[in-house]
C-alpha cells in the first residue's frame, strides 16, 4: 500500500510503514541525521532530524523514528527548526573538543558538516570539556571518547550486524560512554565496521592515522582477495598509493578485507627475477630467467616427455592468469598435468551437489541450518548475512556447535554436537519419527515447517559426513546451499579449467573437447590424462614428475615433508608476489604483480564474475602473471598474443560457454554447467585423508594464508585469522 505525504510543499508517494525521513528523502528534502542509519534499527537518540508536522500538538517530531501517515504535511526547515537544531548541536559541543585539524574524520564527519552549516564554533554552555585521553590500547582501532556524541551506531552495528556486541553504553548520566566490559581493550573481530559507521572521529583506525585528508582520496573499485566471498572494495588512493580500503557499495568488510591489503607492501615482495647460480638464488634479468626456464623445460620434455612436467595454478590470481596458465601447460608444454593445491582442501560437492546461493538472499530463507560453526571465520560475509537474516528479518537459526561462539547468542536452537554427522542423523530420525531430544525435535519441527531452508555446508567433510549431508538435503523442500570457500578465486580457477580432466567451463577433457580446443587455440594438445595435485605429489616421490611450475602458491611453507619432496625435483619454477618458503628452494623465481596492481576478474563463491582494477603500479619489476606466462611461451616457440586482460576474457568468452555472455557482476546459472547434477566431486580432500603420509600437516598446508600473514596491521591482532 502506498501513502501520500507532502514534504516542503511537494507531494510524494511512499510505502506504508516508511518513516517521515524516508518521505523527506523521496521528496528531495535534506534532513540532517546523526544517529540514524538504514542498516540499523531506529534509535532516536540525537534528535537532530526534527521536523514540523502540520496539525500536530507537538512542536517538533523526530523524523527518523516516526512513521509517515497518509496525507501528512511535513516541513523540514523553518527558523524555529533551525534554532532547535542549533541548540541540539550546542549541547553536543559541550564536551566535544572540535579538534578537526588533527582528526582523521575531518571532511567526512557529520558533526563537522553540521557545525559548519549551522554556523557554530563553540558551545555557549560551560566550556569545561571533560577531556578523556584517547585509548590506544586496542589493536587496529583507536577510541577518542571526548569526540563521541553517544549516537550508539557503533553499539548497534556490532550487535545487530555482527552479533559480537563489543561496544555498550556503560555508566550513567554525564559519565555515560561507550566501552567494553571493565574498559578492557577490544577483543573482537576487528572488522572496523564501527569505525566506518561512527559519524564523528570518536573511532578511528590506526592504519589511516594521520595518513591523508579524506578529500584528497581517489577511489578505485575492486574486489577483496582474502576469501571466496569477494567483497567489493574501494582502494582509496593518494598520489598513486593506497591509503585506506573502504567497502564499495556500503556492504561490509571484515578485518582482512579492510586492513589486510598492506601485505602487498611487505618487505618479502619479490622485486626482480632470480635464478639459482652455484646453489644461491641471485637477481637476474627477465630475459635471463625466462631463457633458463625455457631451456630447462625443453630439455626435460625431450628427455622425459611432456607428462613429466606439472603445473600448479593459483586460487589467488585472476581468471585471466589461470586461463592462460592452463593453456600454456596444455598447448605449449603439452600436458594435462595442471591443478591447484587448494583442491586438497576444497569443500566437498562444490559445483556438483552443492551450488552456492546468493549471499544477499540469505534473509529470504525461513530457516538457516548452520552445520559449520566457523562459517563466520572462513567466510566472514556469509556469517554476517546469517546474523542479518536473524536480526533484521527475524529468521530462525539452527546452529550445530559443541562449543560457544557468537552464533549461540542469536540461534533459535543450538544442537550441541561437535560434528554435523550425528546431528544430521538425529534430525533425520526426528523428522521421520518425531523422536529425539527436545532441541532436536524443535529443530526438526522448524525444518519441516519451513518453506525454504538455507544450509551452510561445512568447509571440510569426511566421506561419511558428505554422504549424510546429501541424504539430509534431499529430505528438505526448497533448500539453498551455502558452501564455505576459503580462497578468493578458487571458483575461478575451477571455471578456467585449472583441472587435469576438464577444459575451461567443465568441458570434459575427452577427444572431442580436445579437438575443439586444438582448433580454437591452433595448437597440438595432449591426449593422455593428466595428474591431479595429489598424483603430482606422488609423482615427485616416484620420479614420474621431474619439473613443476608453481604460480602463486606456497606448499613448502607449512609442510617440511612436502618441502623436502619439492627440493628433490629436477627443476622448480615459482612465480609469486612474495619470497616464500617454496620460492627459496626454486631454481627460478619470478616476481608477479599483486591483485592490487593488475586488472582482470575473479569469480567468487556465488559464481559471480567480478572486475578487479589496478590501484597501484606493479612493485619494481613485477608483472601480471599472464604476461609472464605469455613471455615464457614466446621463448618456447608457442604463440600467445594478448594485449590486455580484456583480450584474454574475450577468448574465454569464445571458448567457454559458461562465460559466453556472463557480464561482470552477474552469476553464471548452475543449470548451464556440464556438471550440474553429476555425481562428481571436484574436491580432492577425500584423497588427502587416505594419503596422510604425503601430507602430514594437512590442516596447516591448506590454510597457510600466505598473504594475510604478511599484513602488518592484521599482525597486531592477537587473534587467529
Amino acid at each position: 500500500m502506498e501513502i501520500t505525504v507532502t514534504v516542503d510543499g511537494k507531494a510524494v508517494k511512499v510505502k506504508a510503514g516508511a518513516t517521515i525521513l524516508d518521505a523527506a528523502k523521496a521528496a528531495g528534502s535534506r534532513v540532517p541525521t546523526l544517529c540514524h542509519d538504514n542498516k540499523l534499527h531506529p534509535f532516536g537518540a540525537c534528535r537532530i532530524c526534527l521536523v514540523e508536522l502540520e496539525g500536530s500538538p507537538r512542536k517538533f517530531t523526530p523524523s527518523c523514528t516516526t512513521p509517515a501517515i497518509d496525507n501528512m504535511v511535513v516541513r523540514t526547515s523553518s527558523p524555529a527548526l533551525i534554532e532547535a537544531r542549533r541548540m541540539i548541536l550546542e549541547l553536543l559541543l559541550i564536551k566535544h573538543p572540535l579538534d578537526c585539524p588533527v582528526c582523521d574524520k575531518a571532511g567526512e564527519c557529520r558533526l563537522q558538516d553540521l557545525v559548519h552549516e549551522y554556523g557554530l564554533g563553540e558551545s555557549r554552555f560551560d566550556a569545561e570539556k571533560g577531556y578523556l585521553p584517547p585509548d590506544y590500547e586496542s589493536a587496529v582501532i583507536e577510541r577518542n571518547i571526548s569526540r563521541c556524541i553517544l549516537c550508539g551506531k557503533c553499539v548497534r552495528i556490532c550487535d545487530e550486524q555482527n552479533a559480537v556486541g563489543e561496544w555498550a553504553f556503560t555508566r550513567r548520566g554525564t559519565r555515560t560512554r561507550i566501552s567494553t566490559d571493565f574498559d578492557r581493550p577490544l577483543d573482537c573481530e576487528f572488522c572496523g565496521e564501527c569505525v566506518e559507521i561512527c559519524p564523528v572521529g570518536a573511532l578511528t583506525t590506526r592504519q589511516f592515522k594521520y595518513k591523508a585528508r579524506s578529500w584528497s582520496l581517489e577511489g578505485t573499485p575492486s574486489v577483496c582477495n582474502y576469501c571466496g566471498c569477494g567483497c567489493p572494495v574501494s582502494f582509496e588512493r593518494r598520489d598513486g598509493k593506497i591509503m585506506r580500503v573502504s567497502p564499495a557499495r556500503e556492504n561490509y568488510l571484515c578485518a582482512k578485507g579492510r586492513f589486510g591489503w598492506d601485505a602487498v607492501h611487505h618487505a618479502d615482495r619479490l622485486t626482480t627475477p632470480k635464478m639459482r647460480v652455484g646453489g644461491e638464488l641471485v637477481d637476474c634479468t627477465w630475459d635471463e630467467a625466462l631463457a633458463v626456464i625455457a631451456t630447462n623445460l625443453k630439455v626435460i620434455k625431450n628427455k622425459r616427455g611432456a607428462d613429466s612436467i606439472g603445473g600448479l595454478g593459483s586460487v589467488r590470481t585472476t581468471n585471466e592468469d589461470n586461463y592462460v596458465f592452463q593453456k600454456f601447460m596444455r598447448a605449449v608444454i603439452g600436458t594435462n598435468n595442471v591443478d591447484t593445491l587448494a583442491r586438497l582442501k576444497a569443500p566437498r560437492g562444490l559445483n556438483t551437489a552443492f551450488f552456492s546461493g546468493e549471499l544477499s538472499r540469505m534473509g529470504g530463507h525461513e530457516v538457516i541450518l548452520m552445520l559449520d560453526k566457523d562459517a563466520g571465520e572462513i567466510n566472514p560475509l556469509t556469517g554476517i548475512e546469517v546474523v542479518r537474516a536473524v536480526n533484521k528479518k527475524g529468521r530462525n537459526l539452527i546452529l550445530v556447535n559443541g562449543g560457544y561462539n557468537k552464533f549461540n547468542k542469536i540461534a533459535s536452537v543450538v544442537l550441541d554436537y561437535n560434528t554435523p554427522e550425528v546431528a544430521l542423523a538425529e534430525l533425520l530420525q526426528a523428522m521421520s519419527s518425531g523422536t529425539g531430544s527436545d532441541a532436536i525435535k524443535k529443530a526438526a519441527e522448524m525444518l519441516k515447517g519451513a518453506g525454504s531452508v538455507a544450509l551452510i555446508v561445512p568447509a571440510f567433510l569426511t566421506d561419511k559426513e558428505y554422504a549424510r549431508t546429501r541424504e539430509f538435503a534431499s529430505q528438505l523442500k526448497n533448500v539453498t546451499f551455502y558452501p564455505l570457500v576459503r580462497r578468493s578465486n578458487f571458483q575461478g580457477s575451477l571455471d578456467m579449467g585449472v583441472l587435469p580432466d576438464y577444459y575451461p567451463g567443465y568441458q570434459k577433457a575427452n577427444a572431442e573437447t580436445t579437438a575443439s580446443f586444438a582448433k580454437a587455440w591452433d595448437a597440438i594438445l595432449p591426449e593422455t590424462a593428466g595428474m591431479n595435485a595429489v598424483q603430482m605429489i606422488d609423482g615427485i616421490k616416484s620420479g614420474k614428475l621431474a619439473a613443476l611450475y608453481i604460480m602463486g602458491d606456497d606448499p613448502a611453507a607449512s609442510n617440511p615433508n612436502l618441502k623436502a619432496l619439492l627440493d628433490g625435483l629436477e627443476f622448480l619454477v615459482v612465480q609469486d608476489i612474495f619470497m616464500t618458503e617454496t620460492a627459496r628452494i626454486a631454481d627460478v623465481v619470478l616476481p608477479a604483480a599483486s591483485w592490487v596492481e593488475k586488472t582482470g576478474t575473479f569469480t567468487n563463491l556465488e559464481r559471480r564474475l567480478q572486475q578487479i582494477r589496478s590501484a597501484e603500479e606493479p612493485v619494481a619489476e613485477s608483472r601480471p602473471d599472464w604476461e609472464i606466462i605469455q613471455a615464457l611461451a614466446k621463448k618456447m616457440g608457442g604463440s600467445l598474443h594478448y594485449g590486455s586482460a580484456r583480450d584474454i576474457m574475450n577468448e574465454i568468452r569464445s571458448t567457454t560457454p559458461l562465460y559466453a555472455d556472463l557480464a561482470p557482476g552477474s552469476i553464471w546459472p548452475q543449470e548451464k554447467s556440464p556438471l550440474a547434477g553429476a555425481d562428481a566431486d571436484l574436491s580432492l580432500s577425500s584423497d588427502v585423508i587416505n594419503k596422510k603420509e604425503v601430507i602430514a600437516a594437512e590442516r596447516l598446508l591448506f590454510s597457510s594464508g600466505m598473504t594475510i600473514t604478511r599484513s602488518k596491521e592484521i599482525g597486531t591482532i592477537r587473534h587467529n585469522c
Binding site: D159, V164, G165, A168, R171, R172, S179, T180, D181, F182
Partner: protein, 169 residues
Amino acid sequence: MGNEAVAQQAATDNETITPEMYRRIDSIIERYKDKPGSLIPVLQQAQDVCGYLPHPVQRYVAKGLRMSPSVVFGVATFYSFFTLVPRGKHVIRVCLGTACYVKRSEEILDKIKAELELEVGEITRDKKYSLEAVRCLGACGLAPVVVVDQDTYGDVAATKVMDILKKYE
C-alpha cells in the same frame, strides 16, 4: 586501573569467588535463561551470592545468558545498586553534595579515611567497612549527612563520626 591494580583485583576476585558461588549462579541462570529481561534479576541475585560483581562473574553471567559481556557491564554500571568492588559488612556513605560540602562534610570524610586507613571506594582490611562518597542524598536540611547501611545521620560533626561507626560491629 593500572596493570598491577588489575592483576591484584583479579587475584582477590579468584580468591573470593568460590566454585560453590559459581554453582549457585548456575542455578540462578538456569531459572531465568531464555526469559526476556532476565539480566537485572540475575545480576541482583549473583551479587547477593558474591557480595559484588567482579569481572569474571559478569562474564560468566554473560555467557550463561548468551549476551555480550559489554552489555552486562553496561547494566551493572548503570544501576547504583550494583557494585563492582567488594563491599564491607557496613557501607559508609558520606555526602559531598553542595549543602553538605558547605557544612564541611569533607572533614568527616578525611577523618574516616584516617581512622579506618582506607580511601574512598575501598574496604577495610577486616572487611568490616567500606567507604563511599556520594552526591546529594536529598536530605540537605540535615547537612552534613552520613549514611551507614540504611541509617541516615544528620548534622554530623567530624569529631563525633567515629562514635557513630562504633555502633556497627
